[in-house]
């Protein structure tokens, strides 16, 4: 019981040690080693058992063979003896020859076989496989062999002796019998010798029966007497006596030999008996030993089998227990814990990071569990951190996405993301930014999902489609130089960059360079314009200087005729020359005005006017009438659009343009011809607008065509340049006509199209339509409306003529007029005498100019009204004065009407004329 408890306690401690003290690998190694050891034990047991069984079987087989050999030897020996004995028994009966053949020879053969068996047995016993007992009794085997040999020797010797003794005729016994017969024959019957002989013979016969030597000795004794009797027998002659004595002697010798032979036979028979006894003893011992060895071998085999079976059963049982233990250990140590780890991993996979695995062992799975727990904890930390980071990154991503989205959306470059379809034969728009919408004038919804070739039908002609296909195939980013794209919907200058992104989509980044291109065009135009401006500026400087002086001069020529005419009677003869003076003055003023127009643009007052009306006003003007008069063969035809909207324009300049164009047209016609003035409403957009730098929209167009000789190609580029004229300068033109037309139209925001051929020329003037309410036509006032209402006006001009002209005009209109020759005088006057209005010349010398004068006036009287008068167009100083409050500007030379209107409007606060 204690032993059992001790074993159980030891088992428990071993189990605890294996469970807690060993790693799984070591446990598995121990288990596998145990199983391997048990398997090896089984195998070794089987092998050893098999070897032992084989050995035992061999031993048993050998022992059985020995037993068989011993039995066979015994049988052989016994048979040999029996045959040998039968030889002795039957030799005389059946004859020696037959006895030899029947018994002696088989006996010898039998004993020879026994000898052979003995040798075999001897070899077998000498082998190591026989049992120890038999091995130790090899002496008996040797002895058996020796006995067999001896039997063979002695038996043959005995047969020889027996044969020598009893063989017919040659045998001693027959010979003795023969001698006795001879003696008997020689002896006389009835004689003493005969009777002695018979007595001797009877002893011999007794001997033959008893084989007792004393009988033979008795025969010898009788023979001795017989010999004496023969010697003394008188009935026997000498020869017979000698013969009888000889025969008796022979017979005695034979008898002695027979005795020796018989002794020998007896000895041999005794020998056989001894041998038989010894052999029987040996054979019995050997047989017993062999049988014992067989039994021992059988018992050994049985024991080995039992032992092997028991060992195998025990080992197998131990193996089963070990396997069960290993499986249980593996189940407890590995499978369950792996399941637990799997569940734990599943929990982790499900996101339950709070689960913990019990760390119940220090083995690998325990370490794994600890590692899992650490990992779990770390993952928890990481997850938390990751969530934070994800949130942070998400925020950052949102910000970044927003940033990039904004970048994408707000990029001034158009970005289109498209995906190949039809194996790259077309591309579908997947996304685009707002810039695309802006550039292409199409919404994103209209773009996304549509084929590129459908949205942009001109893309293949544009060349971009091939680039996109190349990038899609090669993945190599490509750029496309600035080009002009146009389809029915959009057009413009595009600069493209195409690349392929990881998703395989193609990104087209492009810029609308139309503005830049227009700017370039404009720049070129500006350069032309600048060139022309510089040219014009030079002209303007020239003309401006001339025009100032001319205007001052012409002011008197134009102004005084009116005063003179007002004071002359209607029938005065002076009226016509004064009228011519006035007209010439006005024409001179017009030339100067053209100069100023070319130099400084059409700066006249803008008002809404119908183009048709202006055409008709011109056609009714004296200038046109004079042209018609000069070109009577030229027919002037109008084709006016009755629904033509009004334009905002300077009618003077427009009519001036019409006059110049009609004049040129008539002059281009040699002989009869036609000049057609037509108007129409046309829409200008696209390239035409951009090329002419006008806003797209509706335009009122005036076409002036003729069927004259046309303008040569080389001249077309220069016809609008000042002083470029094919006419004779001073006779038929000033070289300013088309320049005035060009500047007037451009100043009105319009454009000019010229088409000329040898069949004629067409000038088309495009004027933007007037906006509703803009530049309403000023109501025409009568000069009487410009009259004074008791106001006092101070005229400040350094030119006395102009001071006097202005004073005369204003005085004629009833104004109280004061004059000042300089700005300083005006300021001084106004310090003491307030005036309602100051008519202020800008260019005064010496002293302060008009601007400074006005500043000083304002310093005294901030609400001081003033009208700026200058022979130049609006200058910076004029602008500065206007900024100070003197809004109205009156350009020299002016008429009384012009002066009266401006003064009246300023005094009344009417802003229309501003």
């Amino acid at each position: 019981m204690k032993a059992f408890e001790f074993v159980m306690a030891l088992w428990q401690r071993l189990g605890n040690f294996v469970k807690n003290g060993l790693s799984i690998k070591a446990r598995l190694a121990v288990g596998i080693a145990v199983l391997l050891m048990l398997t090896l034990t089984n195998a070794v047991t089987v092998l050893v058992g098999r070897s032992l069984l084989n050995h035992a079987a061999e031993v048993m087989a050998d022992n059985q063979e020995i037993e068989r050999l011993v039995l066979e030897m015994n049988y052989g020996m016994q048979r040999a003896r029996r045959l040998h004995s039968d030889f002795f028994l039957h030799a005389q009966e059946i004859g020696f020859a037959e006895a030899h053949e029947k018994y002696a020879q088989p006996s010898v053969r039998q004993i020879s076989q026994v000898i052979s068996l003995s040798k075999t047995l001897q070899k077998l016993v000498e082998q190591s496989v026989v049992g120890e007992g038999l091995h130790l009794n090899h002496v008996d085997v040797n002895l058996y062999l020796s006995f067999a040999k001896r039997f063979a020797d002695t038996s043959i010797e005995a047969v020889e002796v027996f044969t020598g003794l009893h063989a017919p005729i040659r045998g001693m016994e027959p010979q003795l019998e023969g001698i006795l017969d001879e003696i008997s024959a020689e002896l006389n019957r009835g004689s003493e010798s005969f009777w002695l002989f018979m007595d001797m013979k009877s002893h011999i016969q007794e001997y033959r029966i008893s084989r007792q030597r004393p009988e033979m000795q008795s025969a010898f004794n009788v023979e001795n007497i017989l010999v004496k009797s023969v010697h003394n027998d008188p009935h026997v002659d000498e020869s017979r006596r000698q013969k009888l004595l000889s025969l008796l002697d022979q017979g005695r010798n034979l008898a002695v030999k027979i005795l020796v032979a018989e002794t020998s036979i007896k000895s041999q028979l005794n020998d056989f008996s001894i041998q038989a006894l010894a052999v029987r003893e040996v054979s019995t011992t050997l047989a017993k030993m062999a049988k014992k060895e067989v039994e021992h071998s059988q018992q050994k085999i049985h024991s080995i089998r039992s032992l092997v079976v028991n060992i195998i059963l025990m080992v197998t049982l131990t193996g089963v227990v070990a396997a069960f233990w290993l499986a249980r250990m593996f189940n407890h140590s590995v499978i369950r814990r792996v399941d637990r780890l799997t569940r734990f991993a599943g929990e982790l996979r499900e996101g339950n990071l709070e689960v913990l695995i019990p760390e119940d062992s220090g083995d690998e799975l325990g370490q794994l569990a600890r590692t899992f727990n650490l990992m779990s904890a770390r993952i928890r930390g990481l997850v938390n951190n990751l969530e934070q980071k994800v949130a942070q990154r998400t925020d950052e991503l949102v910000v970044s996405e927003g940033r990039y989205r904004q970048l994408f959306e707000n990029s001034s470059s158009g970005v289109i993301i498209c995906e190949a379809c039809d194996e790259g034969n077309d591309f579908i728009v997947r996304d685009c930014n707002r810039a695309v919408e802006t550039i292409e004038h199409i919404s994103r919804e209209e773009l996304i999902g549509r084929r590129v070739t459908a949205v942009f039908p001109g893309i293949q002609e544009f060349g971009l489609f091939a680039v996109i296909q190349s990038v899609w195939k090669n993945g190599q980013p490509r750029t496309m130089a600035l080009g002009y794209y146009a389809d029915e919907r959009v057009s413009g200058w595009r600069e493209n960059a195409v690349y392929k992104i990881a998703s395989g989509e193609i990104v087209c980044v492009y810029n609308d360079r139309t503005a830049e291109k227009q700017a370039e065009i404009e720049k070129l135009a500006m350069e032309v314009k600048l060139q022309r401006s510089r040219k014009m500026e030079a002209l303007g400087l020239l003309a401006g200087g001339v025009a100032h002086d001319l205007n001052n001069i012409l002011s008197g020529i134009v102004g005084f005729p009116d005063i003179l005419l007002m004071n002359l009677p209607q029938d005065s003869e002076l009226r016509k020359p004064i009228g011519i003076i006035k007209d010439s003055g006005q024409r001179a003023a017009a030339v100067v005005a053209d100069l100023l127009t070319v130099a400084r643009g059409a700066t006249g007052r803008r008002e809404q006017a119908g183009l048709n009306a202006l055409v008709l006003e011109y056609l009714a003007s004296p200038e046109h009438l004079s042209f018609v008069a000069r070109h009577p063969q030229v027919e002037c035809v109008t084709r006016l659009d009755p629904d033509l909207p009004s334009i905002l324009c300077s009618p003077v300049h427009i009519k001036k343009c019409i006059m110049n164009l009609v004049s040129n047209a008539m002059e281009s016609i040699d002989g009869a011809g036609r000049v057609v003035l037509s108007t129409s409403l046309e829409h200008v957009a696209g390239q035409m607008a951009r090329e002419n730098n006008v806003n797209p929209g509706e335009y009122a167009v005036l076409h002036v065509s003729d069927n004259g000789k046309g303008i040569q190609e080389k001249d077309l580029e220069h016809i609008f340049e000042p002083f470029y004229s094919k006419k004779i300068m001073g006779i038929s033109g000033t070289g300013l006509g088309l320049a005035v037309v060009w500047n007037s139209v451009v100043d009105h925001g319009g454009m000019i199209q010229v088409k000329s051929s040898p069949a004629g020329t067409v000038f088309s003037l495009y004027f933007p339509l007037a906006v509703q309410g803009e530049g309403d036509v000023e109501r025409s006032v009568e000069p009487g409306d410009f009259r004074s209402r008791g106001e006092k006006i101070l005229i400040v001009d350094d030119e006395i003529m102009l001071r006097d002209l202005a004073a005369a005009m204003l005085s004629s209109l009833g104004y109280e007029v004061e004059v000042a020759a300089s700005g300083e005088q005006a300021v001084a006057y106004c310090q003491t005498q307030p005036v309602d209005l100051v008519l202020l010349d800008m260019m005064m010398e010496p002293g302060i100019n008009g601007l400074e004068t006005y500043r000083q006036l304002l310093a005294r009287s901030p609400n001081q009204k003033a009208i700026v008068v200058s022979g130049y167009a609006e200058t910076d100083e004029v602008t500065a004065v206007q900024a100070l409050g003197a809004k109205r500007f009156l350009k020299k030379p002016y008429s009384i009407e012009q002066l009266g209107r401006v003064v009246r409007y300023e005094l009344d606060g009417n802003l229309t004329e501003i």
Binding site: N142, R213, Q268, D271
Partner: protein
């Protein structure tokens, strides 16, 4: 150079150490038997095995028993050990016959571990036994065989001589002569009859007697024989009488000798016939069997040994077997053991573990070379034919049957021993 020398010196020392250690640790060369007829190898603790071939059955058994006792006394003396090995005996009964000797010898020589054979009792058994022994390479030494045929006759090798055969008993070739000389000279016998039993011993003695007697001028009137086991001796005794023999020399064993003696008594014509037998009948059982009928009977037998050793051995005999020895022939057996063991001690090769290797020829040679070995029966010197004892025979006459063997042996009528 110095380094090389140092290296050489170190190498030499190392080599010497290795050689010496190899020499010291080397196992002795295993024994290789060079003996021409083989060796007996006796493992440690294994016994030395000797065969004992004696006549232990029949009426000759007392002689065999005495031989056995002599052997036992010798073994007791050496505590049944030789060269550290126990000595065991395989005792076989030869029945005092040739066939018995042959078969008994076979039993002994069948075991190759048999070193030698002690025996036999009877020369007849020795003839066949020695032949078998000799062919097996053993050595045989007898304390009782006396037949001349076994060793030498007339200084020449006897026909039944076998190599390896030795005896401490005297060659009885001399015994016949001594008997003839005595009867011729001292008893005046001129006609003598002899009876043998066909045994080599018996025939040897008879032939020695007849030869010497004839040479002395005597007449062998009858040379008869009996068979062992013959009961009726009248015919042969009649022949003796009718031959006119004055003396009947019948060197027979018991019981044939007994029957000759007893049946001769009261037989007509036998009153004056002197009866003379041999040493085989100088034995207590014979004397006891025939009693007073043997009175006046002559015996020729080996001279009795005397001396301190013999006396001490007798004491041991008596102490051991609780009876006085029936003959002196046990002395020969005793000497044969000592002679054999001495020779073995000379030739045996003993290994450290006690293993013995005994060359068979060496053992024989050692015995042949024995000179002046101090035996209890006298100093033994073995000749080339295996005769080791001095042939000293006495003619004894039984005057007092009651005195027994001792009295008979002391009643010496004639001896061939050199008188001091």
């Amino acid at each position: 150079m110095v380094t090389n020398k140092l290296f050489c010196c170190r190498s030499g020392v190392l080599a010497l150490l290795l050689l010496s250690s190899w020499g010291c640790s080397r196992e002795p060369a295993p024994f290789v038997c060079t003996d021409p007829i083989g060796c007996v190898d006796v493992a440690p603790q294994d016994p030395l095995q000797f065969g004992v071939l004696q006549a232990l059955s029949g009426q000759v058994a007392p002689l065999g028993l005495e031989q056995l006792r002599g052997i036992e006394l010798a073994l007791t003396k050496c505590q049944k050990e030789l060269l550290g090995h126990p000595v065991i005996l395989q005792i076989e009964d030869d029945g005092c016959t040739a066939e018995g000797g042959a078969n008994a010898a076979l039993k002994i020589i069948a075991d190759p571990q048999a070193v030698a054979i002690l025996g036999s009792t009877c020369s007849g058994a020795a003839v066949t036994a020695s032949a078998a022994m000799a062919s097996a390479g053993l050595t045989m030494i007898s304390g009782n065989n006396s037949a001349p045929f076994l060793t030498a006759i007339g200084g020449e090798r006897a026909p039944r001589w076998q190599p390896g055969y030795f005896r401490t008993a005297s060659n009885e070739e001399v015994a016949g002569k001594v008997a003839a000389q005595y009867v011729h000279a001292n008893l005046g016998v001129r006609k003598a009859a002899t009876i043998n039993d066909g045994d080599i011993y018996s025939r040897g003695l008879v032939e020695g007697f007849e030869q010497e007697f004839r040479q002395l001028g005597g007449d062998i009137v009858l040379s008869a024989a009996v068979d062992k086991g013959d009961a009726q001796m009248q015919p042969v005794l009649t022949a003796v009488v009718e031959a006119g023999a004055q003396l009947l020399f019948f060197p027979l064993f018991q019981p044939e000798g007994n029957r000759i003696l007893l049946q001769s008594k009261g037989m007509a014509g036998f009153g004056q016939v002197v009866l003379m037998s041999d040493g085989a009948l100088i034995e207590k059982s014979f004397l006891d069997a025939v009693g007073g009928e043997a009175k006046g009977m002559y015996f020729v037998g080996p001279a009795k040994a005397n001396g301190v050793l013999v006396k001490a051995l007798v004491q041991d005999y008596v102490a051991t077997f609780k009876a006085p020895p029936s003959t002196n022939y046990y002395l020969g057996a005793y000497d044969s053991v000592n002679l054999l063991f001495a020779a073995i001690e000379k030739v045996a090769v003993k290994e450290k573990d006690g293993t013995l290797h005994i060359g068979r020829q060496a053992l024989r040679d050692a015995l042949y070379m024995t000179k002046m070995f101090d035996g209890v029966s006298g100093r033994l010197t073995c000749d080339q034919f295996g005769d080791c004892a001095r042939p000293i025979f006495n003619v004894l006459r039984l005057d007092d049957p009651a005195a027994g063997v001792e009295g008979l042996q002391t009643n010496v009528q004639f001896t061939n021993a050199v008188q001091p």
